[in-house]
Subunit: 430 residues, 4 copies
Amino acid sequence: MVTPPIGHSAALLARFQTIRKQTESLCAPLTPEDTVMQPMVDVSPPKWHLGHTTWFFETFLLKPHLPAYTEFHAQYAFLFNSYYNTLGSRVNRAERGTLSRPPLAEVLAYRQHVNQAMETLLQSELSEKQADLAALIELGLQHEQQHQELLITDIKYILSCNPLLPEYLPEESPVSGPISGKQPKNEWVTVPEGLYTIGHQGDGFCFDNELNPHQVFLAEFKARAWLVTNQEFLQFMEAGGYENFVYWLAEGWDLVQQQQWQAPLYWVQQDGHWYHYTLHGLQQVDLQAPVTHISFYEALAYANWSGHRLLTEFEWEALAQLHAGTPAAGNFLESRRMQPQAACLADENFAVAQLLGDAWEWTYSAYLPYPGFTTAPGAVGEYNGKFMINQMVLRGGSCATPQSHIRTTYRNFFHADKRWQFTGIRLAQR
Amino acid sequence: MVTPPIGHSAALLARFQTIRKQTESLCAPLTPEDTVMQPMVDVSPPKWHLGHTTWFFETFLLKPHLPAYTEFHAQYAFLFNSYYNTLGSRVNRAERGTLSRPPLAEVLAYRQHVNQAMETLLQSELSEKQADLAALIELGLQHEQQHQELLITDIKYILSCNPLLPEYLPEESPVSGPISGKQPKNEWVTVPEGLYTIGHQGDGFCFDNELNPHQVFLAEFKARAWLVTNQEFLQFMEAGGYENFVYWLAEGWDLVQQQQWQAPLYWVQQDGHWYHYTLHGLQQVDLQAPVTHISFYEALAYANWSGHRLLTEFEWEALAQLHAGTPAAGNFLESRRMQPQAACLADENFAVAQLLGDAWEWTYSAYLPYPGFTTAPGAVGEYNGKFMINQMVLRGGSCATPQSHIRTTYRNFFHADKRWQFTGIRLAQR
Amino acid sequence: MVTPPIGHSAALLARFQTIRKQTESLCAPLTPEDTVMQPMVDVSPPKWHLGHTTWFFETFLLKPHLPAYTEFHAQYAFLFNSYYNTLGSRVNRAERGTLSRPPLAEVLAYRQHVNQAMETLLQSELSEKQADLAALIELGLQHEQQHQELLITDIKYILSCNPLLPEYLPEESPVSGPISGKQPKNEWVTVPEGLYTIGHQGDGFCFDNELNPHQVFLAEFKARAWLVTNQEFLQFMEAGGYENFVYWLAEGWDLVQQQQWQAPLYWVQQDGHWYHYTLHGLQQVDLQAPVTHISFYEALAYANWSGHRLLTEFEWEALAQLHAGTPAAGNFLESRRMQPQAACLADENFAVAQLLGDAWEWTYSAYLPYPGFTTAPGAVGEYNGKFMINQMVLRGGSCATPQSHIRTTYRNFFHADKRWQFTGIRLAQR
Amino acid sequence: MVTPPIGHSAALLARFQTIRKQTESLCAPLTPEDTVMQPMVDVSPPKWHLGHTTWFFETFLLKPHLPAYTEFHAQYAFLFNSYYNTLGSRVNRAERGTLSRPPLAEVLAYRQHVNQAMETLLQSELSEKQADLAALIELGLQHEQQHQELLITDIKYILSCNPLLPEYLPEESPVSGPISGKQPKNEWVTVPEGLYTIGHQGDGFCFDNELNPHQVFLAEFKARAWLVTNQEFLQFMEAGGYENFVYWLAEGWDLVQQQQWQAPLYWVQQDGHWYHYTLHGLQQVDLQAPVTHISFYEALAYANWSGHRLLTEFEWEALAQLHAGTPAAGNFLESRRMQPQAACLADENFAVAQLLGDAWEWTYSAYLPYPGFTTAPGAVGEYNGKFMINQMVLRGGSCATPQSHIRTTYRNFFHADKRWQFTGIRLAQR
């Protein structure tokens, strides 16, 4: 990972406090009972997210670097390690939902304990060594932001399993409000043939999987200016898209039949209308908004049906190099909409909508190492590299991504069958 | 089911209030997070037990018989039905652990709502119809007592899964105190050959599976005067009992190998000593106390190894006809020991210890209908009969059974592989 | 096991030769490819049956008792052991279908090799020791007869899996011929209350699970004079028997839904008519013949629906004591009908049809040890006792049972969900 | 697919006859029993391969294009369709091993019937239409060659499951003979940076997944001149490679533990030496020969341990453009060695050994569509495209690949966990 030089630790301290508080505020609407649920193995209980992000700072910063630090509890290292083999044994991922203790209140106390110690560390004298620590702290904060997005998607899944369909944010503004922004002028934008430099450059933070900028040759292609909408996806459904194998990869078609998929995750049909469960409760599907909660298989089947295709992650990054930007009204975690919204640009200079935020865009690129990829020694090296198999790359962030966490070189990755993230579709032209 | 004539409803009201309160007091030491756990499919979350026992009264008593009754919540009938097909669809048993809502506080409010309505019902005028209601109310109370035992065994399993090994009753007296009572004088007691009448007779309550008293011919046999102790079971373990197939049924031997059983459930070896998890935390195994948390397979393997055998349920009932009684110091739920204790008789007239309470005794009888068994029409008929396959009968109650719930004709039943109940071994002589 | 004194070994030799030849003749219609199939784990490949029955004689007779015997192949003991832990490791049951070698021809050569050695043994001088051997040989022959029945049912299952629906016995007489025999005069026969002696008595061969004749008290009951017919079972089907949970045990109802059972095994509906696969190919269902290939769950559901019940194994044996006999036209393996036939008595003195032969009758008795049951030391002790859990007793033999193999005390046993044996239903009156 | 213009059909006819005969000769050493085995779901029974390759010609050529053609059997289309949804329902892949009928002899008759009809078709008058047919016939022959390789690997797996460890080719020359050829002069060869054209060009046959030659930019890299040997892999094993998670992808490490992998497939340790099952029986591992029967996970773990990496498929193709060639002594199916052999070049001009033949080389490239990839309409379009997910590309062919079937643009693909193909490792330098 790469971290910018820190002018002084005050800025880092402020950022630390903001991000840590944000995590807790995301859990505020939950009951203690909600925070221990694990209704499927991909989902982690919110209480576990609260503990695990804290464990990261305790393990990588406080224990090795703050001499006076006293461990909060001897067994939390075992309880809150996620997958770091370097750091010893841990609770099995599938059994995170069996842990009622420590109770939520105690995990919040653990957070306070670690926060205070981190503040001590951050207020201590600057030194050479401090530069390395800053990089680790930044990694811890980025890590926590990743878990903020997972918190939102996991909470959504947890509450959706409940027949009472509870509302996470009952008081919030409706998901599909009037669209006040501008639309892209053209449906398709062209990206010219050429050698593009792919990967992260410059001083800002990035993960190791974005490193080693390298040249990739691309032929000319056209990308769609906005994401596939619910209306468009409904046309696919009504045209029998879920019943016709010709649009599907073989493994996807098997899933469609085993799982009896007939619509995106969270959709239900009632009285001839389609509704979907949102974090604001059950709502009628907003036809102008991007379709979301679809697997890679569904994204590709839609693309095949429509006569188009998906972008590769390299094409996506080239497109973003030419057209990205952060419109003031971007739909990120901070908007609290918690659902993608219809294409809507703050500035008419943008030719492409929804590049960042709204919905992660499935690419037809497998998650593989960039040329020259290496892993750091020790536990931090287990962060990304060991997952580089059988997953597909997604780009661009979603409505559940913190705005300061995303960038155009960011590589997210999930297995092709996953549907509980805010995933969507951008088309390319053959 | 059979119910005695009720003199007046005041006694029933008092019993109703006592039993309902008892259930809540059993949950008092739990956190809200504890009450939603389902770490294996056999275990139900404590919050679910609280709701389900309440649903029973709402469904079978209040809705049909209290005209002014207002349902607490329209969806609770769906959430808290256990297995009654007659009463429509319900949450899948394996998914009870996915329900964080309604929160514990609301389920307790549901209990209060139903309790008040039941009190209204119980205080209303006596009538012919009332007699039927009394039978249903008694069934509801017996049902709740069954769930009190399940609550204890489920809570034990839930907390045992937690690496912190929390204590449910930290302040209670130790499990293995000095034994102040008397021991049986002889190791074996003889039951003579003859025709015995098996099944429930008289006016008291019983379940439908105990009905139809009928004659069973038994040859003479000898039964052991006390339950197999931890010390005796340790000898079996040390003699390689878990490593030698000759003592085991074929399906049991497969389980031993798949599950790598080497000791009863909850036992761990540390520094050369055996400990077991109890509701008072991890404790050294009490050698004089009965072995518990063993499957039928282990019970039979022990019997085979020792050169003896298990009783049939008919032999057990004949033994109990000759020797049962309720010593004042019986070890039931009310003792709060929550663990079987060493053989200990209050009265030297008893020849047999531990017949009632301490540990359920596996018999080598399958759970089958008595001659003439019939099921009641409607949902109540689903109570027992539909489980009469592939389960073994257990007799005598345990340290988690409410004292007023057990009797010598009581037939409990579990699959041969289950270990999370307080199950033990009484030997018979070949 | 008990064996009658053998007058001279000549009779035993003749019996040995007849039974061994019978096994081979049952495999004669098969291709080599047929003989290695294991389409489900309960089924063993016919080639394996051929080898395993031979291995029994090699292991228990020739190796210990014929000094000059040379083993046919060093690895056959490993390949053809079924489940005897005493005799060491073996091919996993589920993997018997992965063994293409040794080819069929070599297994037939193995049979010849062992047959010749057995003939040498049987022709050797009589001695004290010989009496023990005769018992073991008789056990081997009874064992081979059990496998003859399994061969028939396994072959039926194997061929039924093939979309070509091959005929095993194309040239044989049709299953449902004109019924030339007599019918019982009354629908129900009464068995009076009393103490009955259950279990094998006398000198003839029996298995260890039939031993220890003992008294069982039975109340008066009525048994149906013939087995439930296909026509009667069709009425149950047409009345929605497979769609209504009230008739079913809970575990049975789960199976009905998981496996989507709608008819007995092998039944298919075509153009409004019901056909079933038989060993003579696909045939229209014979309405007068007994229903077969049903699980215990279906038998009990039928009984419940009809307002009757199943017999216990003790009732069955009492009924047989009063009414059994072997009509000349009994429908056993030797008839080559390979399908139960309509009730048909050779002699009007019989009040009950189909007691022996036609279809095994599910009883509502679990397979448990008789009082005083003990197992023999060594491998032979693994024959029966270790299966005494989670299985139901069937009585009376079937159209695939060799006539000389069955008797009224014979206890067959299968898990309640099994359907590939020739199983049927006899009703009792409540 | 692309097919060269055919001068006259005589050449095609000769090629048809040779390839068809080759398939049968590969099955000649098998017993009928061998030809129906399916010990794991990836393996198809040899008899099925014989039928399926024949079905291809019947379905795509004879039925639509030979008017006088009479179908051999109405149900073979159902029995021998592999995965073409376009062509209707079929036997489930996992159930191919349940089909004993039609017997082997009849499938061979089916082959003859189709061969004769194909010969009629190939001898008929040339026409415009003929050109299309030639392309389809060529596809059928390439398809059959693919199944020849699968036949060899499936037969190996089938026989390896048998405790008798039968020899498929007992009389053949030993696998590890004296190496008579030349070795590469340098351990590493450099491929310079540049834009390479990847994909098939020219007139020869190729599959659709190789089409659309396109430019790929590559940085300079070094490739190893020979494949990783058994000796080198043993060093990895002895250094604890299978016990240390740091070398493994997370999903691979899970597999290592679940499956208890400790060596390549088919390896067994006896008396301190390593042996492996080969098609010539159990043999001591040849230390100079390439390691084979390893998963992608093992290939990558080895590369990580050795401080190197795997090539991408684009790097491999660039390497092959510079260094490929077909030495006369190449180790393909035709050599009948059936095992990779030590590096051995016929000509000293070759800098790189084992590029074609010996063992398929796992690349760290996922199997994805080339830019502009499209599928043909109809069933032929299901050939490749629908498998483009969750598989890794392998390059270069193996000792089981027919020599005329392989080329440097050929893309083979398997899931990362598969080990029953002849797979190996070529290293690149970081």
